[in-house]
């Protein structure tokens, strides 16, 4: 590592910090802390973007750094904190796996991601190409975070962290996406969080909880049965096909509304 310029060392350090923060998110059960970690991740991303902009002299990176600051460091955490206060969800329930097990899975995921990114890194010509593996790892770790959590709130934080990973990946592979794409993604994420915020209230109103496994049991609820009867009457077919189709016709719609 001797001989690498200092700014590149700092960039590598930022990349390593991003990975560490992803693991911290994976282990964290308090939702408030989770959102704070997301804000810290945004800050590290901001520092990395600024360093890269200064190093390469690419002006559009300053712009995306400003976007990161406004959106990921300030606005989104603020919105999420407000949601937490209004919904009064401070703790996630016990995750599906215990912490140590999740950590071990996380380690395996990181090994997989590093292997996956090796050929991509070989193709890239940027100075930061080694960090692509870390970006892939951050994305996959966010997936794991989303999979192992039950509360809608933590899943959204996982989703946002995944977007951070994508952004960092694009940055280290090609010095950032085209500006129009970046703006589009940023806007998308913002709107997604706003819409999801509304859905949180809807979900809670329906189930008195933000626990998403309630959504899995939708097919056994009363209104569906009533509808099932109606379908039978309509088609005159008491076979197994139509209840299945009713259920499958209903569940994706509910899943999407998550």
């Amino acid at each position: 590592m001797t001989g690498t310029p200092f700014d590149l060392q700092l960039l590598n350090f930022c990349a390593a910090l991003l990975l560490l923060l992803s693991f911290a998110m994976l282990a964290q059960r308090r939702i408030v802390t989770l959102v704070n970690l997301l804000a810290i991740q945004g800050t590290v991303l901001l520092v990395a973007t600024l360093l890269l902009a200064w190093r390469t002299g690419e002006h559009h990176l300053y712009l995306s750094a400003a976007l990161t600051l406004a959106l990921k460091v300030v606005l989104l955490p603020w919105i999420l904190h407000r949601l937490i206060r209004r919904l009064r969800v401070y703790w996630d329930t016990e995750p599906l796996l215990n912490i140590s097990g999740t950590m071990l899975i996380g380690l395996l995921v990181v090994v997989f991601a590093f292997g996956l990114a090796r050929p991509i890194s070989a193709l890239a010509s940027t100075a930061t190409r080694n960090a692509i593996g870390i970006a892939v790892a951050v994305i996959l770790l966010s997936f794991v975070t989303m999979i192992t959590r039950r509360k809608a709130m933590s899943q959204v934080v996982g989703f946002l962290s995944m977007e951070n990973g994508l952004f960092f990946g694009a940055m280290s592979a090609t010095y950032g996406m085209p500006m129009i794409v970046e703006f589009g993604v940023a806007l998308d994420v913002l709107v997604a969080v706003l819409v999801l915020g509304i859905f949180f209230f809807q979900i809670r109103e329906q189930f008195d909880s933000l626990d998403l496994h309630h959504l899995e049991a939708l097919k056994e609820s009363q209104p569906i049965n009533a509808q099932k009867g109606a379908t039978h009457a309509l088609h005159g077919d008491p076979g197994e096909g139509s209840p299945g189709s009713t259920v499958s016709g209903r569940t994706p719609a509910q899943k999407e509304s998550r």
Binding site: M1, T2, G3, T4, F6, Q9, L10, N12, F13, A15, A16, L17, L19, L20, F23, A27, I99, S100, M103, G106, L107, V110, V111, F114, N130, A131, G133, I134
Partner: protein
Amino acid sequence: MTTIEILTQALELITTLAAAPLFLGWVNQCRAWLQNRRAPSIWLPYRGIRKLFHKDAVIAESASPLFRVAPYIVFGAMAVAAGIIPSMGTRLPFTIAADAIALVGLLATARVFLSLAAMDIGTAFGTLGARREMMVGFLAEPALLMVIFVASMISATTALPAITENLATQELALYPSLAFTAVAFILVLLAENARIPIDNPATHLELTMIHEAMVLEYSARHLALMEWAAALKLFNYACIGFALFIPWGVSTRASGPVVLLASIPLLAAKLAVTGAGLAFIETMSAKLRIFRAPEFLAVAFLLAVLGLLVHLLLGA
């Protein structure tokens, strides 16, 4: 083997043996200050050891010879470990015999004999302490090995003096992998030396104690050796930390006897800061339930492995 090599080796061994209780006293003093208590004298560990050496030993009737031998083995292992760790100079003729992995094995040997001796008497407390010690040990050891592997991969050697020399003499660089492993090492140090998140060194009462439960049956010179060995262990761990993460200031192959002399006050300064930091961590954190200890050490292992992976990917 030149004169300066022998001199370095002798100086290191003597300093470590002599200064280990002082370091323990310093940590205790800092802890008392931070907790708004009147601090005990910094020389208290010495007085305790001297007092114990002047007493007559009482040994349980059911004790086997292992019980009598264990303190000498534990103390011996710690003293040998002190000879391997480059705390002042890297020219240690003794280190040809053992590298960093053997050092971990040496520490494990001490642990095994300590636990066996604790179980030997057959009291409930001793057995309980021994089992807990083994649990903490088997979780902490892989983490410690991973920490050492990262440093070894950076320097392409497992010999501790060579690692220290390489890290001390090369151009200053930012190693994220070493930063991760440093945190992991601090966690392992706390767990292995029966410090507060895992065990409370100041207790003789709680059912949660680990180290104190194991040495409960010892008295007089045996207990003195055990306490001294515990102090040595803490000192050794601190010195391993210096060797891996703050290696600057040790006398290297190129430097003369002046640097070797200058490294003594430098080591004292490092130890003073470390002791204060250790006391701070212990004051700030609460003791974990024993069943949370695996989680604590899993974090240490995770950090160390992450350091390893980051080093493999970034080469840093």
